[in-house]
């Protein structure tokens, strides 16, 4: 079933771009099918203790496996991911106008994201989890930048990718250390680990989770990601992707309970985020940004609860996670509908929508109240559990954690009140706007989600069972906790009553305070500056390193070769050196040196090419002296082609070399001398310490028996070491393709050619000085 559902997703993703172009908006219904199927299957498995696994070894040698494991926790999460995904697809049908282009691309990317997310929550092996984690980053990038003609969306998408991808690298490093310390890659086999490796892994994984779940100070990408169409924000930035970090923290927390850093670092991330997000939500006037900052705050809340690490807090965190996914998705849909039907999301410009949009108003009030933690809604018992877990701590911890969580909750109530009054109450400036008619596809998903918030409260026993069975997979002691419809007059209840009361007052007070515009996003601007700066730095470095001067490239190569040859100098054993094998070699060697020296003195280019050819032919003579006919043949042929090629190429250049300066001559002599010395030293050094017997005999035998040929050299090339030949052949092809690409580009005058790459540029760089090109 796991494979089937994943394959279903993949097939739909593959089909949508082509099919979507033809069926337009209806592609979204097709997109909803795999998600709905997954959601339904997961619902049947809610609360079940049965575990379904699937997987295969991917890299057996490294114990890297592709493994899925659907337990109670994974089922619960995939209900949220796929269920909300399907609802978002339906909502999108209403959100986008029927003429909206590129619906196929939108639907395909949405399903691709959903696939990645389902894979992430089902993953058992950390490597599987990592792959899907990265896939969610990439698909999220595509979705945030969906309106790619809009520069704001492009920059926001780039920022989101930059931060989450950096987190991905941190996660990879963290997982490597984790697997090393825990000696298992399976999340289901986690045992507590400690030590310095575990500490490092804990920090890296927490940072990764914090980037994904928009924890302070990495939260800057999330408000920017609101540049995406609202259905995407409702899906990715409320219910699913931003939860990935929280989910990761939840499932991997048992491993790090014993490390010193896990809890303080996680709590710092979470509490700072909760408070800062709440403050941010109160500063904005764009309803969608209010929700985005509210999401940041809620994610911090979840992070903090999970970092506390007590079974009670974990249980509360999972219940809050469920409640949050339900109400936040509904609220985003509400804002999207308000935006689509009135044309603005600014709460200063909106007012009195209560009568114009009654259904939306009802959904907003129910979901908002659930977010604020007001009965009779699912948000109330879950928040209650969370506060109880926080005030159940002791000492300073209780003071700080409970204090900040209560403060954050007051902010939550305040911004919820501000949002609801701002959009719906009739007291503000009346909008001079017409409200477009309602679309059923937009209303239905909201109503379902709002109803779920109510139903969750009514069927609290069932919800408790589902949450509990999920919580015990990571914290076995969570068995004893329950959610209560009416907890009685406990400390937690009184605390929440106070929270709601203060929050209401603050919210009402802040609602109509006129704020001209939202605060400047300094953090986001800094990230953007960092990204741009990196790009510019890279350009400058590349400009320095890739200067385009051939002599300097050659000099660099030679210097590196010389440095590499230095260690060989100590290896040389003069006793192993002798002058020649036979006298002919000496004669040929003298010839080579003489011709090579001559090559440096020739003044005409054609002459130099020919003399160089002569050097090559003389080297062939050396091979003759050693009885290597294959080498001779190849050498002669190569030299022939090269010399003729030179002749062809020289047609483009002046016939004579420019007269060199003194410095130029000295430099070239030095470089040539260094290169020659380096090669000689390396050869002499390696000749001094032969390792084992030369493989000649063995090769000669296998050539006959296995290769079926008498020419050992060629049998080596085509059989014994054919893989090498294949590699060389591929190199040749790459070179040829490179040449073809360059020459095609040169022949296309409509393309701008960068400086230094024109054919005249060749003449310019050849001597390092400008050369007169004859007209």
């Amino acid at each position: 079933m796991i494979w089937f559902l994943l394959a279903f997703h993949v097939v739909v993703v593959a089909a949508l771009p082509t099919v979507g172009a033809r069926i337009g908006r209806r592609a979204l219904w097709l997109a909803a099918t795999p998600m709905a199927a997954t959601a339904l299957w997961s619902i049947t498995r809610l609360g079940s203790s049965e575990v379904i696994t699937a997987g295969f070894q991917w890299v057996p040698g490294l114990d890297v496996a592709f493994e899925f494991r659907v337990d109670a926790m994974a089922s619960l999460l995939s209900v949220l991911v796929s269920g909300i995904g399907a609802l978002v697809c339906v909502y999108s049908v209403g959100y986008f106008s029927s003429s909206a282009a590129s619906m196929g691309r939108f639907a395909a990317t949405l399903v691709a994201f959903s696939t990645a997310m389902v894979g992430l929550v089902w993953a058992d092996s950390v490597w599987t989890l990592f792959i899907f984690w990265e896939l969610t980053s990439v698909t999220s990038f595509l979705l945030v930048g969906f309106k790619h003609s809009d520069p704001v969306a492009r920059i926001a998408a780039r920022r989101a990718l930059f931060i989450t991808a950096a987190g991905g690298l941190s996660l990879l490093a963290g997982f490597v250390l984790f697997v090393d310390a825990a000696s298992t890659a399976r999340l289901s086999e986690i045992t507590p680990i400690s030590g310095s490796t575990a500490t490092a892994a804990a920090i890296l994984i927490l940072v990764a989770a914090a980037t994904k779940s928009a924890q302070f100070p990495f939260h800057v990408w999330l408000p920017g990601a609101m540049a995406a169409p609202t259905p995407i924000s409702a899906y990715l930035h409320s219910a699913t992707m931003v939860k990935a970090g929280v989910i990761l923290v939840a499932v991997i927390a048992p491993a790090f309970q014993d490390t010193d850093v896990w809890k303080p670092l996680g709590l710092s991330f979470g509490l700072a985020t909760m408070v800062w997000g709440g403050i941010g939500a109160l500063r904005h006037v764009d309803a969608k940004l209010i929700l985005a900052w509210g999401t940041v705050s809620q994610l911090g809340f979840l992070f903090a609860l999970l970092a506390i690490g007590t079974p009670k807090a974990t249980f509360a965190a999972i219940s809050v996670l469920v409640a949050h996914a339900v109400f936040k998705a509904a609220l985003f849909m509400v804002v999207g509908e308000v935006d689509a039907r009135t044309g603005t999301r600014n709460i200063n410009e909106l007012s009195g929508l209560r009568s114009a949009m009654p259904i939306t108003f009802a959904v907003a009030v129910i979901s908002g109240a659930s977010m604020a933690g007001v009965p009779p809604l699912l948000g109330f018992p879950t928040k209650e559990a969370a506060i109880e877990a926080a005030i159940g701590l002791s000492g300073t911890e209780r003071l700080v954690v409970a204090g900040l969580i209560i403060f954050g909750s007051i902010l939550t109530v305040a911004y919820t009140t501000r949002l609801l009054i701002g959009m719906f109450a009739a007291d503000g400036p009346m909008p001079d706007r017409t409200v477009a008619p309602r679309r059923r596809a937009m209303s239905a998903p909201q109503v379902i989600l709002a109803a779920a918030s109510v139903a969750g409260f009514v069927a609290i026993g069932w919800v408790t069972g589902v949450v509990r069975s999920a919580a015990v997979t990571v914290a076995p002691d969570a068995e004893v906790y329950s959610l209560y419809r009416w907890p009685g007059l406990t400390d937690a209840f009184i605390t929440s009553a106070v929270i709601v009361a203060i929050g209401l007052v603050v919210g009402v007070l802040l609602t109509r305070r006129h704020v001209a515009s939202g605060p400047v996003a300094r953090g986001a601007a800094n990230v953007d500056r960092g990204i741009d700066g990196t790009g510019r730095l890279a350009q400058r470095v590349a400009g320095r390193v890739q200067h385009g001067s051939l002599p300097l490239y050659l000099a660099t190569t030679v210097i590196v070769v010389c440095a590499a040859a230095v260690p060989f100098a100590g290896e040389i054993d003069t006793a192993t050196l002798y002058w020649w094998d036979n006298r002919v070699e000496a004669v040929v060697a003298v010839m080579i040196v003489a011709v090579a020296l001559a090559a440096t003195q020739v003044r005409s280019r054609l002459g130099a090419a020919l003399v160089l050819g002569a050097v090559g032919f003389s080297v062939a003579g050396l091979f003759v002296a050693n009885g290597a006919p294959d080498l001779v043949l190849t050498q002669l042929l190569v030299e022939t082609v090269v010399v003729v090629g030179f002749v062809v190429g020289l047609g483009r250049l002046a016939t004579k070399f420019p007269s060199p300066t003194r410095l130029w001559v000295v430099g070239r002599v030095l470089i040539a001398g260094a290169m020659g010395t380096a090669v000689a030293v390396a050869l002499a050094g390696s000749a001094a310490s032969p390792t084992g017997e030369a493989p000649v005999r063995e090769l000669a035998e296998t050539a006959q028996t296995e290769g079926g040929g008498k020419n050992v050299v060629n049998v080596i090339l085509t059989d014994t070491r054919a893989l090498d030949t294949l590699g060389e052949v591929i190199v040749l092809m790459v070179v040829a393709v490179g040449i073809l690409t360059l020459s095609t580009r040169r022949n296309r005058t409509d393309l701008p050619v960068p400086a230094g790459e024109t054919s005249a540029g060749l003449a310019l760089v050849e001597t390092g000085r400008v050369e007169e090109v004859p007209q």
């Binding site: 294959d630 082609v641 483009r652 020419n711 030949t725 591929i730 073809l740 022949n747 004859p774």
Partner: protein, 161 residues
Amino acid sequence: MISRISPIVSLAVRAVTPIALVVAAYALFAGHNQPGGGFAAGLMLGAIIVLRTVAGIQQPRHAPVWLSVGGVVAGIVAIAPMLWGEPLLDQVVVTWDVPILGDVKTGSALLFDLGVVAIVVGLVISLLDGLDAASLGDRGHRPIAADVASIETGSSDGAST
């Protein structure tokens, strides 16, 4: 221009062409037991193509075709043994009883070599193309400044349109 100035060069290159082809074929087939092989054969063909281009007899064309055919042939020969569960590049030796020639021993290595020949030829042609050798045959040596004119008239390889 070269070809027009010097009919001797042109004629000589034409006369040498069939000989070079035979020698290249010999090198290819002999490679298994004698000096030769795919690389040498490819270079011989490449050399004759260079000469013909310089003499203005032919244009360096179809480099992508040579490259892709060679790549595909070599690739198939490399991968095919894996279909039968043999290791990559495992070679099959076949002995045929051919009339006149008698027993001829050959193998999949020969096919692999054919791929190498095609790739080497493709490389040489693309080098010539890169050096814009085609225009040599047409107009002889020209300084760079005159290049622009030929690009604009689209004489080099038609890509300018």
